[in-house]
């Protein structure tokens, strides 16, 4: 009985996590027509089509984004970017501290792309890719 109860609690906690997702956003007059592969290239320093903006470490959007697009864990990303930095290949993307900071950066830079939860999307940005 007790285990059933805790199972129910786990399911309740897990449900919103399973539904959590992000959408890729850009400036209203900015980049568009990107595929998941394009976005992955842009975020893993293999393409200069757009300037990627990340959410800060520990934000749930960041985890959702990488689960969807790159499949890399936080420590794999850290390892990847340290390798890029110390071999002169590139620097990690600029980070936004909140969804509104993310939108503000995107809304002011036609070259930038970022990601937010669908409920955070407003007129200042456009959605260019959804899962």
């Amino acid at each position: 009985m007790k285990s059933l109860k805790s199972l129910a609690v786990v399911l309740m906690l897990a449900a919103p996590l399973a539904n959590a997702e992000v959408v890729i956003i850009a400036h209203p007059n900015g980049v568009s027509g990107l595929t998941e592969g394009d976005v992955r290239s842009i975020y893993l320093n293999r393409s200069g089509k757009a300037t990627p903006i990340e959410m800060a470490q520990g934000m749930s959007e960041r985890r959702d984004f990488h689960d969807w697009i790159t499949g890399r864990s936080e420590s794999q990303l850290q390892s990847f970017w340290s390798q890029q930095t110390f071999t002169g290949e590139g620097e990690p993307p600029e980070e936004a501290s909140s969804p509104s900071a993310m939108k503000s950066i995107i809304a002011n830079d036609p070259d930038a792309i970022g990601y937010v939860s669908p409920q955070d999307v407003d007129d200042s940005v456009k959605v260019i890719l959804s899962p």
Binding site: S47, Q83, S104
Partner: protein
């Protein structure tokens, strides 16, 4: 003066915002106005954050001990921490949007040819990216012979506690002074990177117990790699006019070929490289290879590696000898067979990502199958090898910041 004016203007603006908000009695309007101010402040901060100089660092330290004094990777029964300790500091100076100067200083605890914690310039180059995406660099850089050449000292970027020496120590010179050019383009759902390099390299090394300069002149090479993020394929070819001081500085042709493959789906990781070193004259041609398989379970990745190296032209050296000068005026003859080399290496280890930027590693490495050679191990007598195998135990912390 301008500062004072703009400060006054913004003060006036905020007063106006607040009073207009109060007059309109509309919380929505006030919120909108405040939000737009926060946005513009955010932009100001962003502009201020675009630094022209960036510093990054990395650090490794650890403890290693071997079951005997064969000297695998220089490790003996006398346990020590210093040889695994190194610090790196990199400064990147952005001269323009497409041009930067990068300097990396390294301080080694102890290594062949390097004194205790002496700091040396490891990388130092100016880099410029052309409009067409071609990146050209000039200065001192890594010879990109291996998949992890560029991050040879950056333990944090490697899966292993010890990089597979059968391949990675095959060419002991790691840096060159010269130029390189690299370009990326898309191909077949992945991206291709093509790189060409050329220059000169020279370093004092100890070969078969004989210290002396090894020099690579007219070094040229190319690297072609393709990656779709899960798979990476890499090919490299390079050549140089090579000379060894202890062999009388005769210039011979040196060639290097390598093939590499890496698979990483986020959980399962596999890497393998196959390399060939061909050197004219009496110096050994060697073939080598390794394969590593690892599997990530949360933050821990256990791995296993098998590596192999064998000199290919041993018959060329049988019955031959070369003379060396251990001290001025003294000449002695050494059988050329001391340049033969053979070993098989097995490693079991694990990498634990303690937190982003810090990894803890442990490794057990066993080397054997030296044939008639000393296995290429520094402590195993070149003329009369005494050890038939060795075990090396390593624990290590790698950090990048």
């Amino acid at each position: 003066m301008r500062h004072t004016l703009s400060r006054r203007a913004s003060l006036a603006l905020s007063v106006a915002l607040i009073s207009s908000g109060a007059l309109a009695q509309s919380n929505d309007e006030r919120l909108d106005a405040l939000e737009s101010r926060v946005d513009s402040l955010q932009q100001d901060l962003r502009a201020a954050g675009e630094q022209r100089v960036t510093f990054n660092g990395f650090l490794s330290t650890g403890y290693a001990r071997a079951s005997n004094d064969a000297g695998f990777d220089g490790v003996t029964e006398e346990s020590e921490a210093q040889s695994l300790t190194l610090f790196g500091l990199q400064g990147r100076f952005d001269i323009s949007d497409s041009t930067n100067a990068t300097v990396q200083l390294l301080s080694f605890g102890e290594d062949s040819g390097r004194s205790d914690f002496a700091t040396q310039l490891e990388w130092g180059y100016i880099s410029h990216e052309l409009q067409n995406g071609l990146r050209v660099r000039a200065g001192q850089m890594r010879i990109p012979l291996f998949m992890y050449s560029d991050s040879l000292d950056l333990g944090y970027a490697q899966p292993w506690a010890r990089s597979p020496g059968v391949v990675y120590n095959q060419v002991t010179l790691s840096n060159y002074t010269g130029v390189d050019a690299a370009k990326r383009f898309s191909l077949g759902g992945g991206s291709v990177r093509a790189q060409a390099f050329g220059g000169h390299s020279s370093e004092e090394q100890t070969v078969a117990g004989q210290p002396g300069d090894i020099e690579l002149r007219n070094l040229v090479g190319g690297v072609l790699s393709w990656s779709d993020y899960t798979w990476t394929l890499r090919g490299v070819a390079a050549r140089a006019d090579t000379s060894f001081e202890f062999l009388g500085n005769d210039e011979v042709d040196g060639e290097f070929y390598g093939l590499g493959v890496e698979y990483d789906d986020g959980s399962l990781m596999a890497i393998s490289e196959v390399t060939r070193r061909e050197v004219g004259g009496i110096f050994a041609d060697t073939d080598s290879a390794y394969a590593t398989v690892g599997y990530r379970i949360d933050g821990v990745m256990p791995y296993a590696t098998v590596g192999w190296l064998e000199s290919q032209d041993d018959n060329l050296r049988s019955g031959q000898a070369f003379s060396v000068q251990p001290s001025p005026g003294v000449t002695s003859s050494i059988p050329a067979a001391v340049l033969n080399e053979q070993r098989t290496v097995y490693s079991l280890g694990a990498r634990y990502d303690v937190m982003p930027g810090v990894a803890l590693k442990a490794d057990w490495t066993h080397a054997r199958n030296f044939g008639d050679t000393n296995g290429g191990l520094s402590g195993n007598g070149a003329l009369t090898p005494t050890f038939e195998h060795t075990n090396v135990y390593t624990v290590k912390i790698d950090a990048a910041f």
